[in-house]
């Protein structure tokens, strides 16, 4: 498989919302390549006839009755907020610049 470049890692870091420095990107590219080299062995035995397992329990949907129960108050829910205003979470600008 192709080598992992710094640009590849930069793209992954953007997807993962982590602002990495150029030095970190270079380091991560090297490490990622080493780790992928070790883990790609899974392909040796993963043939088409084997069904994937996503979870140890074979469960279908789990339902409960739709009953209102006590939950966090507004101030409890806001207690860890980095910023708040008018009993709401205050967040940086989400839409475009203007």
């Amino acid at each position: 498989m192709a080598a992992i470049s710094r640009d590849d890692v930069a793209h992954l870091a953007k997807l993962a919302r982590i602002e990495m420095t150029p030095a970190e990107l270079d380091h991560m590219a090297t490490e990622l390549e080493q780790i992928l080299g070790a883990v790609k062995r899974v392909q040796e035995v993963a043939t088409a006839d084997i069904a994937p397992t996503s979870h140890p329990l074979s469960m279908s949907n789990v339902f409960r009755d739709d009953v209102v129960k006590p939950s966090l108050t507004n101030s409890e829910a806001l207690s860890g907020a980095p910023a708040k205003a008018d009993e709401r979470f205050k967040v940086p600008q989400i839409l475009g610049e203007e």
Partner: protein, 499 residues
């Protein structure tokens, strides 16, 4: 006379007989923490006031004749990944520094309801990603057997606290071995229950299809008592199994393995394991045979692919789970100067708040899940998971329990593997298959390796919701070892109180 060296069961009896109060017992442990935790660094937060208040409330209930749970008044240490209302909960990460959860995890709520006194929160690899506690943002925990070595991880703080007599009981979590490996490396008992056996509600998620909460203690019976106190169905965790809790306490007391078939996993023995580890495991098997068990060899040919599959599945799930740390509702926020948008602030916060290993796994998981690579990596890993489950299913047709060493080596030196992620990952080679299949496993201390005098752990595994089987085998073997040694394994550890 009850002391911090007693077992939790002994402490519980002394409390019930009113030979000691919970306040006295709690204070003894807080004093021990003050005396030795400077060397061990097992705790990230000590809740002296809260613990003594909880102990006092239990003493008052007992004085008034109220019926109490078996472990009421006995102290415990809790891994810093379980939410506890009003108490700092960091998961070993800077991104959660100072966060005080507004609610209790189900396990913490059950401990409180059972009157178990919570001393504080223990150190761990950041978000449970690691095998040594070296990935904690708050410094490494030292192994009580040798301060230059790691106690293992990720629940290294919990294991070290129990091994150093700072607490008789502790809670950990195990995603790929994070309870069993530190238990083995510190000479105590640790159990990863069947997946779904203990609620994950309020446990900060790393890899949701693998994570499981479990108990640590110095004896099999103590571990069973704690297991029963925290296990059971929880409607707040949709993956919690709605079935009776296995009878682990009575199994721990049974002390009989006559007629049981013990399967030795061929692929998890011999080369690749330290000679002193293999020697102690072989002796344990002889003791089990002497106690009436039969040894059979089983083969699990796909286990050699389990480690690789784990390091695709766990990072993939982590990359999704850790998206919640977005600096918007709780935790760290960096660079919000009014000029930067939410996405920029989010990216700056995650860069500043996550450590190296966490970033490494998020990036790896993002890669494994990305379009074009999904089938080759994540998809293939899921198929290996099927093969590992099949290996266990086949092996359990030939044996009641399976055994292996917990770890390839005894405790390694701090710094020895911290710059080589692949070498660090190899320390989980024998524990990971259990998580992949969702079954339960125990780590039992079975002696000290001749080369270095450090503890060795035997892993005992049982099928889904048959956790009582490894308590039965573990309890029997523990009794045989104790009569052989004449004293508990931890009496060989150095005296930490000596300056």
């Amino acid at each position: 006379m009850t002391s911090i060296n007693s077992t939790a069961a002994e402490m519980a009896s002394a409390l019930a007989a009113k030979e000691i109060s919970s306040v006295e017992l709690t204070q003894q442990h807080l004093d021990r923490i003050s005396a030795v935790d400077g060397k061990i660094h097992a705790f990230l937060h000590i809740d002296q006031e809260g613990a003594l208040a909880q102990a006092d409330a239990i003493d008052k209930k007992r004085a008034s004749g109220e019926k109490l749970s078996p472990l009421a008044g006995v102290p415990i240490a809790v891994k810093d990944i379980l939410a506890q209302k009003g108490i700092p909960t960091t998961a070993g990460s800077k991104i959660l520094e100072g966060w005080r959860p507004p609610y209790d995890s189900t396990v913490v709520a059950k401990l409180k309801a059972a009157g178990v006194v919570i001393l504080g929160k223990t150190n761990m690899d950041e978000f449970a990603m690691g095998s040594s506690t070296e990935n904690s943002a708050y410094g490494t925990t030292q192994n009580p057997w040798d301060l230059a070595r790691t106690p293992g991880g990720s629940s290294g703080g919990s294991a070290a606290a129990v091994a150093a007599f700072e607490a008789p009981l502790a809670i950990g979590t195990d995603t790929g071995g994070s309870i069993r490996q530190p238990a083995a490396l510190t000479g105590i008992v640790g159990v990863k229950p069947t997946y779904g056996g203990v609620s994950r509600y309020g446990v900060i998620a790393y890899s949701s299809s693998l994570d499981q909460v479990g108990p640590f203690a110095r004896t099999v019976l103590d571990t069973a008592l704690l297991h029963e106190a925290i296990a059971g169905h929880d409607e707040r965790d949709s993956t919690s199994i709605n079935a009776p809790v296995p009878q682990v306490v009575s199994a721990a007391k049974r002390l009989d393995v006559k007629g049981m078939k013990i399967g030795v996993i061929k692929e998890l023995s011999g080369s690749g394991f330290q000679a002193g580890v293999s020697a102690r495991i072989a002796e344990s098997l002889e003791l089990l045979v002497a106690a009436g068990a039969e040894i059979v060899e089983v083969s699990c040919p796909n286990f050699e692919y389990a480690l690789a599959a784990y390091y695709l599945i766990a990072p993939s799930e982590a990359s999704s789970n850790l998206a919640r740390f977005d600096s918007m509702r709780y935790g760290l926020r960096v660079g919000d100067d009014g000029s930067r948008g939410a996405e920029e602030v989010m990216s700056a916060t995650r860069e500043a708040g996550f450590g190296k290993e966490v970033k490494r796994r998020i990036i790896l998981g993002t890669y494994a899940l990305s379009s074009g690579y999904y089938d080759a990596y994540y998809g293939s890993a899921q198929k290996v998971r099927t093969l590992v489950k099949q290996d266990f299913d086949n092996a359990f047709t030939k044996a009641d329990v399976l055994v292996s060493p917990v770890t390839p080596t005894t405790a390694f030196k701090i710094g020895e593997k911290s710059n080589d992620p692949v070498a660090m990952y190899l320390s989980d080679i024998a524990t990971i298959p259990v998580n992949m299949a969702g079954i339960g496993g125990m780590s039992l201390p079975v002696g000290l390796a001749d080369e270095d005098g450090l503890p060795v752990g035997l892993q005992i595994m049982a099928p889904v919701m048959q956790d009582d089987r490894f308590y039965r085998v573990g309890g029997t073997l523990e009794a045989a070892l104790l009569s052989k040694w004449g004293k508990p394994i931890l009496s060989n550890a150095p005296d930490l109180a000596v300056k």
